[in-house]
Amino acid sequence: MSEVSPAWWGGIEMKGSFIVNGKKAEWSFAPDAVLLDVLRNNGHTEVHRGCGEGECGACAVILEGRLVNSCQVFAASAAGQKITTVAGIGSIHSPHPIQQAFVEAGAIQCGFCTPAMILAVFCLLQKTPNPTDDEIRKALDGNLCRCTGYVKIFEAVRLAARRMSSNE
């Protein structure tokens, strides 16, 4: 089977600038590169590839305020935009309350889905500070987890919501 050369565009890379976790980044990438690969190739390995087809949600990032599967977004189309990964909302030295809640609720087993799951919760709680159980389930529908059975993830969301709304 003959194949289109991977360098069908002539091997030309394009450049784009992004605001990633508040910092400006200028990266070059192939015109058909997806945001997931560009992020990972530039050190953002906190963004995980679980399926590459937009179904598992492990690669989710926040793009201009919206949760997106970064494997389904051309990097070129995200140029100039603000991207938040899980490393952008808190760090191991200064974790975000949602990150802390996931730890305390025992919501993390293998942790592969966790960064994207936490970003999904982040988006949920921004819009809906005190979500109902149904709202939590709906918000996490795009993020598959095979380890936990979601029980403790839901607990973590409720814990984070309680803490964040009592602080504010």
């Binding site: 087809e53 191991i92 942790g111």
Partner: protein, 775 residues
């Protein structure tokens, strides 16, 4: 019960904050300098011989470095199953087989400067095949007139039954008493056949491996593995690279469930890296994981029992036929476990016979999968028991409470079946299954709902139950080890061969060490696992880590404790007999109540006189495998018009001995339960007429998500296992055994139909409802 300070407490999982913040590293996250990428090409045929490979179009592509296939690369026979050596699985595969045996079998690999180029080049390769007849029906596999899947020089490295000339990859036979006599004594005979299907583990991290070189030119493999030490051995065996030149590092692992007990990628990246002296990466796509990696073995289970009017079982016969697919990875042992983890449950049956065969077909390869045969066996067993109860008018819960194995009892089955060979006799020394049944029944409102068939429109409610047991490691086979050393501040490095794949074993092993030394978990710095740094451990499988590796850590910490006391004695002149380990990192002198902080002991040992490093190592070898027990309860709503089964609530009540960490133990139960529900209702491999999987993505292979999960209630009925570390047994696998049979029994309770074939899709349920109505 003992009062513990650290054990039994919900200590926060030690790696969880790094995972939450994205600073943890998985295999694919390691950046190595200037890597090459390996991509595979696969057989599109279920069974074929490769007659020619034209790799010239690929080699002509810019950036392609090499192409590997059966025409240019040979390896000896081996098994991908990461098990003890020699393995109980047959040596029936090569890195590149000339005969390909399932659609998705690896036909070759391309090495290139980028992943994209490697994948494009892999598609550009032309492989000529001579088609061989496929074999898709395991029921026919042992017939005389079907193709043989392995007819070359395949062999079993252990003296076990292996007859490839009959497509038999494994055979397990045992009996005791006289089943025919038992059947003759019975008032009733119940005999039915059940079928379980193959499914994918769906660990969220796809398999990945990276091979790089250290400054001495040794090969360092980062791998998403459950078995780093087995991986090192198998890499050496298949590639010829001396074992001492290989280091396998296990970083964080994105779930395994058995799929990463299989050594798939490591030999290929090692081979390519060693040949070209370049760093090499490989990362499978989700589709490749579905089609090429491993599945749960599909199994046909036929159960026949004879029983009296009062429910006394006089004889039980089980005949299992397991489809191992194209290769026999874990074939014999999964088959063994379908009996050895199931049949001891009713240990008072005087006459029992088991026949089991694992057969080759030209379908995807079975492998280790959480539950490991017990899941398949219990699907049949629990429905069978439910049918007996209904026949004799007994309540399932009360019936099981009357007949299940108890503390102080044994089963002939323990002795009869081990891992492919004879088993190991053992007495059950902890069993709280009756309590599990009582607490689970209360939580599911068994007495309120059972048999009531509450109706709301077309939806009818039912409840069903199941029970199961598993093991804690493989008796007389599994070994774990650990080493510890003390630091100036009274903290300790703990080096565990045990492989944390997301289960939390780093945490519970730290808890065990901390408990023994009277310190907090923060004072234990754990590292697992790295074949250069940590001592040997068989790996994360067979529910072994807490029990086997935990016992190794406990023994190691005990030795450290002895050194702490003797050093404190040297420091103070107090006799060792007066000294004991106190709480909070100190040795206490009972004579005067004085305290010697660990930090002072450490500094004394390192800097004052007769200096030495306080350090120890220990191994543990399991001579028995104490079973955890679980009672599983499902409340389901069955829609009579659509056949849809909705699990409303699921209760899993388990006895894992003393939970080392109750939050992590509950998490294991909850995760296994949801995986089990998803297995029971939606997950399945669909194949086209040529044996190609047609639904190899999460779009078409449905695993349960946040909108699907019912109310799940996990319960721990604590016991204390005398042979376990601080009374602990295992917990990670057992929860998956119950959902399928409990849901099936609940469906029967609701609408009176028996679903004997998994998965229990709306189509099957509706067909059964209609068939019953038409009768």
């Amino acid at each position: 019960m003992n009062e513990f300070s650290v054990v039994g407490k919900p200590v926060l999982k030690v790696d969880s904050l790094s995972l939450a913040c994205g600073s943890a590293f998985f295999t694919a996250d390691f950046t190595v300098k200037d890597p090459l990428f390996l991509a595979f090409f696969y057989s599109p045929h279920a069974h074929a011989e490769i007659t020619a490979i034209d790799d010239s179009p690929a080699r002509a592509m810019e950036g392609v470095v090499d192409v590997f296939h059966s025409g240019n690369t040979s390896s000896g026979l081996f098994t991908t199953a990461g098990q003890g050596y020699p393995e109980p699985s047959p040596y029936d595969t090569r890195l590149f087989n000339k005969t390909v045996r399932y659609s998705g079998d690896i036909a070759g690999a391309v090495l290139a400067e980028s992943d994209k180029t490697a994948r494009a080049a892999a598609r550009a390769i032309t492989v000529e095949y001579t088609l061989l007849p496929p074999l898709f029906d395991p029921e026919k596999a042992m017939d005389g007139d079907v193709p043989r899947i392995h007819d070359e020089d395949e062999y079993a490295p252990l003296p076990v039954a292996y007859r490839p000339e009959q497509n038999i990859a494994g055979e397990v036979l045992f009996s005791f008493g006289n089943v025919e006599k038992g059947f003759a004594e019975a008032d009733f005979i119940e005999e039915e056949t059940y079928n379980t299907h193959c499914t994918s583990h769906c660990a969220m991290e796809p398999h990945a491996a990276t091979a790089s070189f250290d400054e001495h030119g040794r090969l360092v493999i980062y791998s998403s593995t459950q078995v780093p030490f087995h991986a090192r051995r198998i890499v050496s065996m298949t590639t010829g690279i001396p074992l001492h030149r290989i280091r396998v590092v296990k970083p964080r692992i994105g779930g395994g469930f058995g799929s990463k007990q299989e050594v798939i990628l490591e030999p290929y990246v090692a081979l390519a890296a060693w040949k070209h002296k370049r760093n090499v990466r490989a990362e499978l796509t989700r589709r490749e994981v579905f089609t090429t990696v491993r599945t749960r073995h599909a199994m046909r289970v036929r159960v026949k029992s004879g029983f009296k009017k009062d429910g006394t079982i006089t004889a039980l016969q089980m005949d299992d036929l397991m489809n191992t697919g194209a290769y026999g990875a874990h074939a014999l042992t999964v088959l063994s476990n379908a009996a050895s983890k199931v049949l001891p449950m009713f240990n008072k049956i005087p006459n029992m016979a088991f026949t089991g065969h694992a057969v080759y077909t030209t379908l995807p390869v079975g492998g280790a999968y959480r539950g490991y045969g017990a899941t398949q066996g219990y699907f049949a067993f629990n429905q069978h028991v439910d049918a007996i109860c209904r026949k004799v008018g007994a309540d399932f819960v009360e019936y099981v409470k009357k007949w299940h194995i108890r503390e102080g009892e044994t089963s002939e089955v323990f002795r009869a079946i081990g891992e492919g060979t004879e088993g190991v006799s053992q007495i059950v020394r902890s069993c709280k299954l009756t309590e599990c049944l009582d607490r689970g029944a209360e939580e599911i409102r068994w007495n309120e709902l059972r048999g009531k068939r509450l109706r709301s429109g077309s939806v009818v409610k039912g409840v069903g139950a199941a029970v199961s047991m598993q093991g804690s490691g493989i008796a007389m086979v599994d070994m774990g080890s650990a080493s510890m050393k003390m630091n100036d501040d009274g903290s300790f490095n703990l080096f565990a061969g045990a492989t944390d794949i997301g289960t939390g074993s780093d945490t519970i092993l730290s808890q065990i060490a901390a408990e023994r030394l009277g310190i907090s978990v923060e004072m234990i710095v754990i590292l697992s696992s790295d074949t250069d740094l940590t001592p040997f451990d068989t790996g994360a499988y067979a529910s072994s880590t807490t029990y086997i590796s935990g016992q190794a850590v406990l023994r190691c910490a005990e030795k450290i404790g002895e050194q702490l006391l003797s050093t404190a004695s040297s420091m103070t002149g107090a006799p060792v007999g007066n000294l004991s380990i106190g709480k909070g990192g100190k040795v206490i002198n009972s004579a005067d109540g004085s305290e010697i902080p660990f930090s002072e002991i450490a500094c004394y040992s390192m800097y004052s006189r007769n200096q030495f490093q306080i350090q120890a190592q220990a191994s543990f070898f399991g001579e028995e495998s104490p079973p955890p027990f679980m009672a599983h309860f499902a409340e389901v709503d069955v829609d009579m018009e659509t056949g849809r089964v909705r699990v409303v609530k699921f209760v899993s009540a388990g006895d894992c001995g003393q939970p080392i960490n109750p939050v992590l133990a509950l998490g294991q139960i909850e995760g296994a339960t949801l995986n089990g529900i998803s297995y029971a209702l939606t997950e399945q491999y669909l194949f086209d007429a040529k044996g190609k999987m047609t639904n190899n993505s999460f779009w078409d292979y449905k695993i349960y998500g946040s909108l699907d999960i019912p109310e799940v209630k996990a319960i721990l009925a604590e016991s204390s296992e005398p042979s376990g570390p601080y009374g602990a047994k295992s917990i990670s696998e057992i929860g998956i055994n119950g959902p399928a049979p409990a849901i099936a029994n609940a469906i029967f309770d609701a609408v009176g139909i028996r679903l004997r074939e998994l998965p229990m899709t709306p189509e099957k349920v509706l067909a059964a409802i209609k068939a019953k109505a038409g009768r």
